[in-house]
Subunit: 348 residues, 2 copies
DNA sequence: CTGAAAGCGCTTACAG
DNA sequence: CTGAAAGCGCTTACAG
């Protein structure tokens, strides 16, 4: 015997009606017991408990929410770039924790920067009647959410503002953080600072590049086009771009605008033996960054704070807050580990 | 004007009945159109399309599944150790992709190794009537799932078998992989091999420790208790344990049985300047492992393959497969990067 | 305090 | 090919 459920012995799940019959009460009394209504006679509560225990009864929450006033499903949607990327998954965890404390479950999905998937997934979530949606957007036109907001679905954006601004958005201080990071590099006296980053069409890359330019301008340093590379979407692309830039227009410092780019740059620097010569600060923290020699100095975001703040805003909206949508900016933090503080002039 | 939905102008969502009235047809015809029943007259299809477009109608899928035969909700649950840990999140992504192709959504949650949370979360998912559950278990008694299986919920386990074996489980070849990893260390001639790992109560830790012992026994090497540390649950604990073991009973090689432990060991080796002297192989891959000097040699699992296989098995069960539950073992792969192949005798 | 009737938004089963 | 009736498993609104 395997203890395994064979199809031919599959039983139907008992309903409230079955419990009521066994307990000898009306189904409304069973409903009251499972909803913790306090005005039920103790002996009836006991009989209902016994009957549902014997039958293995469990209430059907989706059926309940269908009739329940307000029609809340106690489910929210969370649309991320990719549930398996570290930034997204830390946001996810924070949202999960916030939601769990309120008895709400999270339907998460990956958009892979695909605007069509954003639309499809949003529609799917709406067809399931989620109460709200937190979204790290892939598209750049969000007018389609207006009808949904009017129908009662709340939205909060993460990382990139909706356009036009129809809902709250939680972002890191990308521009200010990048500016501070680059200033940190300039402080050592270095002047040939390279920028390696994601596609400039991406909001965060655009902001961080602007911060890079801000810092150079403030220091009276020219921004040299041969030291700038956009459109880096993977570790491999970043490594190749870094190799090339280090060979041709050698910079004495590098600002990498994102996680994967930073990893690629680190790999290139180590290959070329330049990791003690060319300074590096990355935007976004990376695992093991402290175990490398030198440690990678980064301007760290706080994805958990982003997730918590987004969830907080979403639940406020779901609870009726109808104030004007706003941009909520969260600070970033410089984490000094060595790569951004190499001696200058270089002593190698 | 903000374009934002104010509570006082919130409209009710149109229903099938509203669409039917506007299109001048019965609601069953609207239902047929939205379910792509091919036998509807083209002009009626057109009128329904126009009416639902004008009203912004979207079908309510939870209401549909309530009456639909079989009662599928097209939702599965995924209970992970922590959605934000790399292993879990790669499993998650693979499950998402498999489910998406079948129009199924994933409700994911983190158990944090808490048996009570496992029970609670499973119950919550069942109250939502998910069609199946993939679970990386935290508890060690799974008899409570028998009733659910009889009621039609499918289960597949990941990483650790249910006890007793009531459902399929997908595991990596922990014992065989660990054995191979340790043999790899012994091949260089090293004999004082240390083991640092997670709580021995944890199934995977137990299996990997068994593989460690297998390899020593096969090589005729004694297992020295002073070279073994269990119960390491964080980077910090692992670093401290590694420091201590390296100072007192100096090993010439280390096998670390898990991700976080490997990171802690790497940090300790670098601090003590032993990273070119003491060989290291870790179980589980770690990010940036290739950028460190030396690169970290690991016995890598394939979390994406685990997720895909678990999803495949779950959907087969949901589609009526009632064969006996089995243990499905996936191979691991040695990724050579340097730390496991240091010259011996040590030349430092 | 308790329960029978009506209804949530759909689909099933059936009649035309 | 089309639609009115009944029902999915609950909650609401109401009467006793």
């Amino acid at each position: 015997m395997s203890g395994h459920a064979h199809a031919d012995e599959r039983r139907d799940r008992p309903t409230m009606r079955d419990v009521a019959a066994l307990a000898g009460v009306g189904i409304k009394t069973v409903s009251r017991v499972f909803n913790d209504v306090p005005t039920v006679a103790p002996d009836l509560v006991e009989r209902v408990r016994a009957a549902s225990g014997k039958l293995g009864y469990r209430p059907n929450l989706t059926a309940a929410s269908l009739r329940r006033s307000g029609g809340r499903t106690n489910t929210i949607g969370l649309l991320l770039e990719d549930v398996s990327n570290p930034y997204s998954s830390f946001v996810h965890r924070a949202v999960e924790d916030y939601a769990r404390n309120r008895n709400v479950l999270v339907l998460a999905g990956s958009l892979d920067e695909d605007p069509d998937r954003e639309r499809e997934f949003t529609r799917t979530l709406i067809d399931r009647r989620v109460d709200g949606i937190i979204i790290m957007p892939a598209s750049d036109d969000h007018r389609y959410i207006i009808a949904e907001q009017l129908a009662g679905v709340s939205f909060v954006f993460i990382d990139r503002p909706p356009s036009p601004l129809l809902a709250d958005v939680v972002v890191s201080d990308n521009r200010g953080g990048a500016r501070t990071a680059v200033q940190h590099l300039l402080n050592s006296g270095r002047r040939a600072v390279a920028y390696l980053g994601d596609d400039i069409e991406v909001y965060t890359a655009r902001e961080r590049f602007a911060g890079f330019c801000d810092a150079l301008a403030a220091a009276g340093v020219d921004c040299r086009p041969e030291l700038v590379r956009h459109g880096l979407r993977s570790v491999d692309q970043a490594r190749d771009a870094a190799r090339e830039i280090l060979a041709s227009a050698p910079p004495d410092a590098i600002f990498s605008s994102q996680n994967l780019v930073t990893i690629g740059v680190v790999e290139a620097l180590h290959e070329l033996g330049l990791h003690h010569t060319v300074a590096l600060v990355g935007f976004d923290d990376v695992a093991l960054a402290g175990a490398i020699e030198p440690g990678v100095t980064v301007m760290a975001q706080d994805p958990a704070a982003v997730g918590t703040e987004a969830a907080r805003l979403l639940f406020e909206r779901m609870n009726g807050d109808d104030s004007a949508p706003a941009i909520h900016t969260l600070p970033t933090r410089l984490t000094v580990r060595g790569s951004g503080e190499l001696p200058w002039p270089a002593t190698t």
